[in-house]
Amino acid sequence: MTDVQTVAALQWEDLEYTYPPLTPHMPSTPVLRNICLTLHRGERGLLLGPTGAGKTTLLLTSVGIIPQRTGGRFRGRVLVAGQDTRHTPVAQMATRVGFLFQDPEAQLFHVRVDDEVAFALENLGLPEEEITRRVRWALEAVGLWHLRHHPPAQLSGGEKQRLALAAVLAMQPAILVLDEPTANLDPVGREDLLHVLQALAAEGRTLFLATQETDWGIHLADTMHILVEGQLIASGPISTIRMDALPSPDVQALLPQTVQITHALRGHGFSVPLCLDIDQTVKALVPLLARASPPARSLSPSTEVHPSPPLPMDLSPTPSKPPSIVLRDVHYTYPSGVRALRGVTLHVEPGEFVALVGPNGAGKSTLARLCNGLLKPTQGVVQVGGQDTHILSPAQLARRIGYVFQHPDHQIFAATVWEELAFGPRNLGVPDEEVTRRVEELLRRFHLEAYRDVPPAVLGFGLRRKVALASVLAMQPAVLILDEPTGGLDATAGRDVMHYVAAYHRAGHTIILITHDMRLVAEWAPRTVVLQEGRILYDGPTRTLFQRPDLLHLARLTPPPVTQLAQKLEPWGFPPDVLTVSEFVAAFLNHAGPPPPSTDLSSGNGEPDPER
């Protein structure tokens, strides 16, 4: 233990920060304003905020990367254990603040797991014996000691993030700052990381964590800090945050599903506290359900998974001859010998919305690449619109299959957003007038008009994601494959993206959604295909999947929190197969009847259901 731990705390004093402009014409507005925040020693802070609110910027100030490495206008000060981050080199600050970045690829630069952990300790000039001791301690703390000789590149997503954490822990920092540590992890990877962080928090370390996975992060935190447009709109112990007084449904959507449920029930006149986790919610709802307990009944499997939201757009007419995707006993083996698919048979009907899920390495992306011709099966047949993909090039298939890649930066290259959107249709030989019509329409629908002449590469992540999606939609493919379309986006921005996708689906197009986010699957996809080790483990209604704990366990999946809550309430007659917050509330109202007359409505805020 270092002496730092006796005074470990983070303090932001009236901070205002503006990045230097990326282009001469871009306005330079402050990203952070009036930030006054103190994290005491041993505190576990959860930082929430919509995409683009400034969360990563705020975290980067804690270790001095901002402003030391970024420049820009910096007013106020940030203190770590009493030291000003502007005047202490980042490498020195890192001994006090361990910083875990979102992307493990940029954090793991060695070729062996134990070397990765030793790197920081070598930089500190520690003796060899001490390095050996700490490497072992850190790897055991995250459960990776048995993989110490492996190359980091061969670890799963969850293991990589735990390794990055071990590399940080080895420095024995008193404070841990974590920026979206669960991005792109499968549900079990998230659980593994949660257990490690809970153990570290129990040792008394200060944690400051930014995440969009609020249902996950809430299990770690004792204080919550909500950042909106660069300003803290709420900050303090979780029990003191007036979650029912948050300014807009967009911000409320950041909260855990259990909070959204209890908040909505309060809107309907039920006197229930705002609950942060499933067990609390069960305790709060059971008395209300016990009043009236009809037998549990399942929601119909044919029930529409998502209530129809207002259509934000209607991109194109229904294709006259919609294609379907057919895979018959498809095998695929990479040149390296890795068998990614082993006898997959799948039929996707025109106009279907199918989710493709499974743990990292299950073969989801390989299957998608077989569909759009980037890969050809080593055995079996893949047909798109009745044609074998063996005889079609990816460019020919691009007319029928649009593939939105996981990382928008893998698609973005053009000098302007307008050119980016026009690139695909031009490749397909669409006439100039039609290209212009489509691009203008998409700019309007996606609210990108203001950025039409801006290089897309300099836009924020949420906008880049929109540009990447719009650039594929501009080709008007009959089948749209989306690989983690909401990754890195907050709930509201993610929902915006999915509304565009849903509108495209309702226009008669086929959607294949690849994701680890079970809330997304539950909300949007009536049918789910589960892949595991290159084989189809399950293919059927999403609603039924979440009632199959055996399958979920095998595929390292967990139902969304709202479904877990419903399942816990089943003994009180509650239908266990609800998938969304709005379904839950409807089922609750149906089941529990009107609120009891004695209900004290003074704590309710009367605001509308955030789901509506």
Binding site: I65, A91, H110, D115, E122, G125, L126, P394, I412
Partner: protein, 260 residues
């Protein structure tokens, strides 16, 4: 699907367990031999010897074939260039810069075989040296740490960036980009969207990497230590002595041949 271009072949052979610095001296000896004795029998013998060594070390034939495949463009270009522009012996056709000779072609063939032998000498080291030992070798040779780190990072991230290129190529192909049709200049131009996206992503990656290294205390102490540094065992010392002796003998024999 992660793309891997690691060339290391795990094994327990004598070469695998030899100190990487000593193996570098072996590669250096072979290089000296090929430069000081650039004669067909020496080149052919060295190539045969290297293949025997690779076989004895347990390197799979697929890896050896891969090296030949990598060198294939040189097999076409070098002999042709010598045949067309570098006359050796009688010239049977002249026109402008063109001076065709069968001797030139013969020399071109041996020139490229010498390059093959040099490549195999380098790959002998890479095939048998664990990637984690690569930067320790540079540090062990007393190269500045910044230089060793730069080399190690290059080796670490080359596969990543190559994989990135393939990924982005796929992303653009999925948007209808046709890469392999039309004349060469059109094909080259078609690759611009890929190269620009690779550049943008690589710059982002480089920035994130730099930040991550700083937050892992890079530069925090002037007295950086090395964990598990390379240590020579008696067998390594004996091997080093023998290899240094062989190198000196190669130089001495060449000096005697030239001057004595």
């Amino acid at each position: 699907m992660a793309v891997s271009y690691d060339v290391y072949v795990p094994g327990r052979s004598w070469l695998h367990t030899l100190d990487p610095r000593v193996k570098l001296v072996l590669s250096l000896d072979i290089t000296l031999l090929l430069f000081l004795w650039p004669y067909p029998p020496v080149i052919a013998g060295t190539l045969l010897g290297l293949h025997a060594l690779l076989w004895w070390t347990g390197i799979p034939w697929a890896r050896v074939r891969w090296v030949w495949w990598v060198m294939l463009p040189l097999h076409l270009f070098v002999p042709l260039a010598w045949f067309l522009f570098q006359p050796v012996g009688p010239v049977f056709f002249r026109w402008g810069l063109l001076r065709l000779s069968w001797g030139g072609l013969w020399h071109g063939v041996w020139m490229v075989l010498r390059l093959d032998a040099l490549a195999f000498a380098a790959f002998l080291w890479l095939f048998t040296t664990e990637p984690a030992q690569v930067w320790r070798t540079f540090v062990g040779l007393r190269l500045p740490y910044a230089f060793a780190l730069m080399l190690a990072l290059s080796l670490r991230y080359l596969p990543t960036i190559a994989g990135l290129y393939l990924h982005i190529r796929d992303a653009q192909a999925a948007r209808g980009l046709v890469l392999d049709q039309g004349p060469w200049h059109r094909r080259l131009h078609a690759r611009l969207p890929i190269l620009i996206a690779v550049l943008i992503t690589t710059l982002r990656l480089a920035q994130a990497l730099g930040w991550a290294m700083e937050t892992r205390c890079l530069g925090a102490s002037a007295q950086r230590t090395v964990w598990r540094p390379l240590r020579m065992r008696p067998r390594d010392r004996w091997s080093l002595a023998v290899l240094v002796g062989i190198g000196m003998m190669v130089i001495a024999l060449r000096a005697i041949q030239m001057y004595g």
